[in-house]
């Protein structure tokens, strides 16, 4: 799959390569089905509809969500977060988030703040972890939502969503979780973690193609509280010029990305066959080797907890005397290593970690990265740090 001269360590941006079943499923759809689901009654349209239903079921199995009809597909996690934030929050409402958020969460929240929504940003520690004791005192009479990521896309640090869920339930608040960095790589149980709204993206650890993602709406959420981002054709209630209220149609206007969902479905099934816990263990071992290798290099500062049990396979670091852009360029040019450098769309996280505005170098290995490649990457950084 990967050409020998290339070492792809940018899986936190999008996973690559994918399990071969993903592209195979997409090709099969394009060549043998290809039709629009839920719009017509012929056999190819029915086949497309069954595929979408199957994808909803796979999503529910992975996240222990009870009802496939409460899975709403969309373009990515950004769209899902925007749907909840703009659909649910009204001027005068209060929402709580964290200082590690990606701009997919932070930009809509900052925009809503200017429009009269009250926002509290809980400060995380310099290693990216959150003291959950800060949450309860931040709750106000008008708090409606806790909106937070499951893990940082910069340092990989896991945030305590289960504890946040417990506190949210005690206070009758809703919990929205951005699972972009963890879905498929870290077990997520919507019931056990009391997650009301789970936003996911398909193209990272779920191994789907870009342009897939969605929102799972928990049973405690009245969908009518959330205004749709878009309205349009659903193939249902076609005699009416008003948007239907029932799920998933309320939030799924326009033809879905069915070829993408064919790939996403195959990716999730590939994960389910192996088990998230087993895959997580594999990644943890590689992540710890990477952290240990990097932090032993003089002049290299690794951010985060330095403990793979508390983070995803996403390791951020800086090399003394070398800008992240220079490091990224040399890693690609001299060593064939593809990484992401800079601010990773998360200025708040970099302020928290103390790396703003310089940013960092991010190594994100994946399931298809070998131990030898981890060592190769560490050796390249050792050479840069000389």
């Amino acid at each position: 799959m990967t050409a020998p001269s290339l070492l792809y360590l940018d899986n936190a941006a999008t996973s690559w390569p994918k399990p071969p079943v993903v592209a195979e499923a997409m090709l099969r759809f394009m060549e043998q089905v290809g039709a629009n689901p839920g719009r017509s009654g012929h056999r190819l349209s029915i086949e497309a509809g069954r595929l979408v239903e199957s994808a909803r079921e796979s999503v529910c199995s992975l996240f222990n969500a009870p009802d496939p009809l409460r899975v709403v597909f969309g373009a990515n996690v950004t769209e899902a977060l925007n749907l909840v934030l703009y659909g649910l929050l009204r001027p005068g409402d209060h929402v709580i988030t964290t200082s590690m958020e990606h701009n997919a969460m932070m930009r809509p929240l900052r925009h809503l703040e200017r429009e009269g929504v009250e926002l509290t940003v809980l400060p995380c520690r310099a290693d990216g972890t959150l003291d959950i004791g800060l949450l309860q005192p931040a709750i106000r009479k008008n708090t409606v939502l806790i909106a937070m990521m499951h893990a940082s896309n910069v340092a990989g640090t896991l945030l305590p969503v289960a504890e946040a869920g417990r506190i949210a339930r005690q206070h009758g608040l809703l919990l929205l979780v951005d699972s972009a960095a963890t879905a498929g790589a870290v077990p997520i149980d919507m019931e056990a973690c009391a997650i009301d709204l789970l936003a996911f993206t398909g193209h990272k650890s779920l191994f789907g193609p870009t342009g897939t993602g969605g929102l799972i709406i928990g049973e405690r959420v009245d969908p009518n509280r959330i205004r749709p981002l878009m309205r349009g054709g659903t193939g249902s209630r076609s005699e009416y010029e008003e948007q239907p209220e029932f799920l998933p149609d309320r939030f799924e206007s326009g033809t879905l990305n069915v070829v993408g969902l064919a790939g996403l479905n195959a990716g999730i099934d590939w994960i389910l066959e192996r088990g998230v816990v087993a895959l997580q263990a594999e990644l943890r071992e590689k992540t710890q080797a990477l952290i240990d290798g990097l932090k032993d290099i003089p002049g290299v500062q690794v951010h985060g907890t330095h403990d793979a049990r508390w983070q995803t396979a996403c390791v951020s670091f800086n090399v003394e005397g070398l800008s992240s852009s220079e490091a990224g360029f040399r890693l690609d040019e001299e060593f064939g290593i593809q990484v992401r450098i800079g601010l990773h769309c998360a200025p708040a996280a970099h302020r928290t970690l103390g790396t703003f505005p310089a940013g960092s170098i991010r190594f994100a290995p994946g399931l298809f990265t070998s131990r030898a490649e981890i060592e190769q990457a560490v050796a390249a950084v050792r050479s840069l740090a000389r």
């Binding site: 509809g49 979408v52 193939g235 029932f246 149609d249």
Partner: protein, 76 residues
């Protein structure tokens, strides 16, 4: 009512019809997704056809599976 008499379950959306088909097939019902008869509904999509004698049992399965149906129509 004879064993061969057929009815259709009409749903608010094809998404519910596909979910219903899955649940009923898992419960060993014989059913088929067919285009919604134009005289019955303005839906563009599909409904689920099965023996009228099995409709009551099917509705129980769908209720347990949280699938709302619009209505049941006999085909004759």
């Amino acid at each position: 009512m004879t064993a061969s008499e057929l009815s259709v379950l009409i749903f608010h959306t094809s998404n519910h019809a596909f979910r219903a088909e899955k649940l009923l097939k898992q419960a060993d019902f014989v059913c088929k997704l067919v285009p919604v008869p134009r005289h019955l509904s303005s839906e563009c999509g599909v409904c689920l056809r099965l023996e009228t004698a099995r409709v009551e049992a099917a509705l129980e399965v769908l209720k347990a599976g949280r699938v709302d149906i619009d209505r049941v129509e006999r085909l004759s």
